[in-house]
Every structure is written in structure tokens, then in C-alpha cells.
Amino acid sequence: MLNLLLRYINLMVLTIAILVIISFSLAYMFPGDTLTNISGIVPQSNEQRVALEAVFKLDRSIFVQFWYYLENLISGDWGVSSSSQVSLLEEISIAFPATIELITYALLVSIFVGIPLGFIGGIWHHKPFDFGVVTFSVVSYSFPVFWLALIFITIFCLQLGYLPLSGRVNFLYDIPHSSGFILWDIMRADIPDKKDAFLDALRHLILPTASIALVTTAIFIRFTRRSIMDEMNKGYIEAAKSRGFTTKQIFFKHGLRNSLLPILPLMAMQISTLFTNAMVVETIFSWPGIGNWIIQAIYQRDYPAIRIGMLVVSVFVVTLTITIEFISRAIDPARDKFQRGAV
């Protein structure tokens, strides 16, 4: 086990190191001034440029620069956005939790909808219900997420008028920022219309979450259904049946666990997809998350923001993916090979 842990830590450290190197070298690869790309500051005069270059060690060798970059990264001094001149750490610490919140809910929805549906489809496969589940999964998997979001907006916001179409909560509710997770913040906030604000935030969450969750749910249904079908056809299930156990016993004691085990690493694979979809959905629903933030940054050619945003998101995804993979390997006794599942 220790061996395994070491291997995964090694993997994580190496991967993050590669990501840091990429983000560092991006400052040189992006068009424009390297100094601005690194610091986010546009020097107004030559003297200021020279001074800044000295600060960011641009006059020194590339290794010194990298070392300085690394120090700054660790100490939380991530530079400023070249378009708003606000500290990137501050902007990200506001935007990132919003995305995490959205993704978490979407993931939870996918898990609680996708996995049970997949199970039911897998157990009673080739029955009408299964046919419905499979159709649903294939159709939802085929929706381009941006179109889906627009359809949702057309139906639920514009036609029916049930749900709001932008933001996290009505701006009239002045929710103080503490954790960054809006529902949590509302619960902790000291504001008069707490309940209404909470419901309002919930209503704002529904459509973006649904848009992201649909594709992921479709994937989960497919994984789970396949997994349960494969697992329920295995020898040990038949052996258990021949021992006269009830279907329920077999399913809950053996089938369920064994078909869930391979799903976990597949779930890890979905995190990157979730982020991609979240980025698109955030721009459509004006959700103030990191995806929206990065896309606005590219529109404004805010290179420092793109660089750091990319690093933060990918390090987060890598860490999460590797951790899930480690857990799934640690709890799955039969899995002794290191491999990644395919989509």
C-alpha cells in the first residue's frame, strides 16, 4: 500500500511539475511582452520597465527566472490581471469556488441520476425501460452543451418564465463573500431575506447544473449499464445464484460493489469533461466562475490570467483525478494493473 501511495505521489508531483513548467514557458510563447505576460503590468516608461525586469529577474538566466516564478507561485503572489489590474489570487479565489460548486452539484446529479438509471437498465436490459434509458443516454450524450443550454433558456426562462438565466443569485441580495460557495455563504450570511435568497440561488443553479449534468449523466448511465451487464454475466454471479441466493442478495452483496469499482476511475476521467462543459455553460449563464473568467481573459488577451488560470484548473483536475484513481486502486483488491479506463 505504501508502495502504491509513493507511486501515486510521485506521479502527482511529476505531473504538476510538468504543468508548472508549461505555465512558465507560456509567458514566453504568448504574443506580446514577456514582462507583461509574467507580471500583468504594462510598463509606462523605460525606467519602470528596467525596474520591473529586475524585480521579475528577467535580466537573469532562465533558471533563476523559473525559480523566482516558483517561489511566487508558492507564496501566493500570482501577479495581477493585465486587464483589471486586480491580484489574480484574489480573482481566482472568488471565481474558482463558483465553478467547483457548479461542478459538484452537476456531478452529484449525474451520480444520483445516472448510476441508478444505469443499474436499472443493466439489470433489466433489453426491456422497454432499458431501451428508454439507452435512448436517453445516447441522445443526451449527443447534445452540444451550448445548444442544450440555449434550449433550456428558451423553454424554462423565456417561454415558461420559471427560472432565471444568469448569475448565481439576484444581485439585489448582497451576499458577503466568505467560502465562495453561494448556498453555504447564504446560510452563513446575516441578511434579512435569507430563505428567499437561498431559494433564489437554488433556482439560479438549476439550469447550469442541468446543462452540465446531462452529458455526464449520459456517460454514467452508459458506464454503469455496461458494467452491471458485464458483471452480472460473470461466473461468480451464476455461482451465487446456483447456491440459491435471492437476486436481491446477489445484487447488493456482489454485483453492486463489483460493478461500481470500475466506475470510480471512469468518474475521474469525467472531471476534465465537466470542466470543459462548465466553461461553456458558465459563459452562457454568466456564471461568475473560473471558466467564464478564463474565457473573458482570452477575449481581452489577458495573458497572465490565462496562464495562472490554466495552471490552477489543471493542477486541481490532476490532483483530483490522481487521488480518485489512487482511492479506486486502494479499495479494489482485484485491480493490480495501472491503467486508465477509456471513455
Binding site: K234, E238, A239, A240, S242, R243, G244, K253, H254, P333
Partner: protein, 338 residues
């Protein structure tokens, strides 16, 4: 009354385009305390018979039989629940690949304990029962010849050798104290010493507990060493059935003979490096079964009549299905009388 009585069992399976009779009027009985061997090569439908008996035939396959009874009760007419209870207490099955018949993500001991029926436990608090369970499980492990039970009970199936896994399977089968053990090729791909252990264990159980065993295999060596009676299958048809002794001494069906002759160990007088007796051709696949006697194209004695399915003929307890038996069955009969 036989314990298990199968008469003219026919199973038609879906090959994608048409339904094929994978089992064609197969008959089989197992008496109390008897070891019945079911012999056949791959594609003969041995495993299908096992599945028909234990009720693991997919719904869309067509299963018909004149009789498929367990102690006189009709298995086919039974509800799933009744059938499950019989499987739970009276019939046990051991499969050919022990490792894949065990849940890969549960420890061996937990699987063994799980298969102990509640009825065998005294009423008591759950910890009490848990302790009892453990005792029974350990006892069973000793019974099937797992000596160092401490070492392997907390293991996962993929961590142990095949023969130990098979012993676990047998232990699990024995836990409900069944009357019939169906052993579906339990020694497949085991080396001879471990195979012997399993075989010895099974015949021991047969002797001590009067446990009836339906032993399914193509390993003639194993069969002849322990079985009392045997039924030979070829491509889903019963070829010959009777006491092992009779079949060995005087096989009536060409296929039985070919099968017996294929093992060089049985032929003492065979000079080294000489030709073995072998039927020409190959076993047909399910989709391309010949009509009539399915051995037809490979049979050395085949004639025109063989396009008809031969009737099953019965001489004393020796039945065969062949238009042109190798010996006159009467001879056999006479010999018996002598």
C-alpha cells in the same frame, strides 16, 4: 425413485438467426448416493444440462422435457422461489473455473460465511451468530482439506491457487448439506496431483455422506477412477449410458469406443509411438449440426439410416442410441446372466 430424473430434455438456443437444438432429447438419472459421470467433449452440451438443472437457462431459450424432476417434484413447473429453495438446501454446484466463480472483491472467508444458511445457526444475538458462522466456516475448511486456514481465509480469490479456490467452492457447496453435488468439470486444467486431491475429496464425500454427485467432465481418467455410472454425450445427444464397468468393457456406441481408446494409458498393449485410435473430422459447431445421428459424418459405421435420429434402446441398465451398435447388445446381456 431417482434423486434427479431427466427424460428427453431438449433445449433450443438462439444463435442469432435460428433456434438450434443444443440438447436433443437427453436423458439422465442420478440415484441417491451415486456418482454419475457426464462425459462429453466441448460442444456436447454438458454445461447446458447443468444449467437446465439448476435453472440458469435464459428466458428466451426454449426448454422442454418429458421429465425434469427432483425427488419427484417437477423442476420446470416450479416457481422461481421454490426452485431457489431447493438450490439453497438440496442441490449444490461446483463450477469449472473456481477463481472466476468467486467474487473478486470479497475475502474468501466472508463468501464462505455468507453461504451458511440462517437455519443452521442457533438463535442469538448477531455477534453470537457471527462467531458461530466463523466456527462452521473453519470446520468446513478443514473438512475439504484446507489445512492452514488462517493463511488463506482473509485472502481475495485472485491471490490463491486454483485448487485451494476449488476447495473453497466445494466447502461452500457442502455448507448447506446438500443431497446432490453437481461438479461441472471441477478439475479442468489442474495438474494431476492436485486433481487427485479434489477427486479423492469428492469420492470421500460420496462414501462418508452418501452424497450423490453428478460429475461432468471429459477427463476419462478421472471418471473411471471414481464414477459408478456414466452418460456419454455427443453434440447434445445422449450416446450411451450405463455402469462405467459395462461401458468400459463393452462399449456399444462407436463414439464411446473412440473416446475410451483416445487415452493411451488405457491400452496396455499399445506399442510406443504407434497410432492412436481417432475418429476422423471435427466436432461440428452449433450452427452446423448434422441431421439425424449427429456423429454421422464422423462415424466409421455410418450408413444411410443414420440420417434418422436413432431411438434410445435399453438393455438392462445400459442404454444406447445407435442404429448399428458395435456389439450385439444381447451378448452383453448374456454375459451378465452368466
Amino acid at each position: 425413485m431417482p434423486l434427479l430424473d431427466v427424460k428427453n430434455l431438449t433445449v433450443e438456443i438462439d444463435t442469432g438467426s435460428v433456434f438450434v437444438k443444443a440438447l436433443d432429447k437427453v436423458s439422465l438419472t442420478v440415484e441417491t448416493g451415486e456418482i454419475r459421470a457426464l462425459v462429453g467433449e466441448s460442444g456436447s452440451g454438458k454445461s447446458l444440462i447443468v444449467r437446465a438443472i439448476i435453472g440458469a437457462i435464459p428466458d428466451h431459450w426454449i426448454i422442454t422435457a418429458d421429465r425434469l424432476t427432483w425427488k419427484g417434484q417437477n423442476l420446470l413447473g416450479m416457481s422461481n422461489e421454490q426452485r431457489r429453495i431447493i438450490m439453497r438446501r438440496e442441490i449444490a454446484v461446483v463450477f469449472q473455473d473456481p477463481t472466476s466463480s468467486l467474487d473478486p472483491s470479497a475475502t474468501l472467508i466472508s463468501q464462505l460465511e455468507e453461504s451458511i444458511p440462517e437455519e443452521l445457526l442457533d438463535k442469538g444475538m448477531f455477534w453470537h451468530r457471527n462467531k458461530q458462522r466463523r466456527q462452521i466456516a473453519v470446520g468446513l475448511m478443514h473438512k475439504v482439506g484446507i489445512k492452514n486456514h488462517e493463511a488463506c481465509m482473509q485472502r481475495y480469490p485472485h491471490e490463491i491457487a486454483a485448487d485451494i479456490a476449488q476447495k473453497f467452492m466445494i466447502a461452500m457447496a457442502l455448507v448447506s448439506e446438500p443431497e446432490l453435488l453437481i461438479a461441472d468439470d471441477p478439475t479442468r486444467s489442474m495438474e494431476s496431483t492436485t486433481k487427485n486431491q479434489i477427486l479423492r475429496l469428492l469420492s470421500g464425500l460420496n462414501e462418508t455422506r452418501k452424497l450423490a454427485i453428478l460429475f461432468v467432465s471429459h477427463d476419462l481418467l478421472a471418471i473411471s477412477s471414481m464414477a459408478h455410472t456414466m452418460t456419454v454425450l455427443y453434440c447434445g445427444q445422449t450416446v450411451e449410458s450405463g455402469k462405467v464397468k459395462h461401458l468400459h468393457r463393452r462399449p456399444l456406441h462407436p463414439y464411446t469406443k473412440a473416446l475410451l481408446d483416445s487415452a493411451p494409458s488405457f491400452q496396455i498393449n499399445l506399442p510406443p509411438k504407434s497410432h492412436l485410435v481417432a475418429l476422423p473430422g471435427t466436432i461440428p459447431t452449433l450452427k452446423h449440426l448434422p441431421i439425424g445421428c449427429r456423429l454421422g459424418p464422423r462415424c466409421p459405421n455410418a450408413r444411410k439410416e443414420c440420417v434418422k435420429v436413432p431411438e434410445q434402446k435399453m438393455v438392462h441398465q445400459h442404454s444406447y442410441s445407435c442404429h448399428f451398435p458395435l456389439h450385439s447388445p444381447v451378448d452383453d446381456d448374456l454375459e451378465n446372466k452368466q
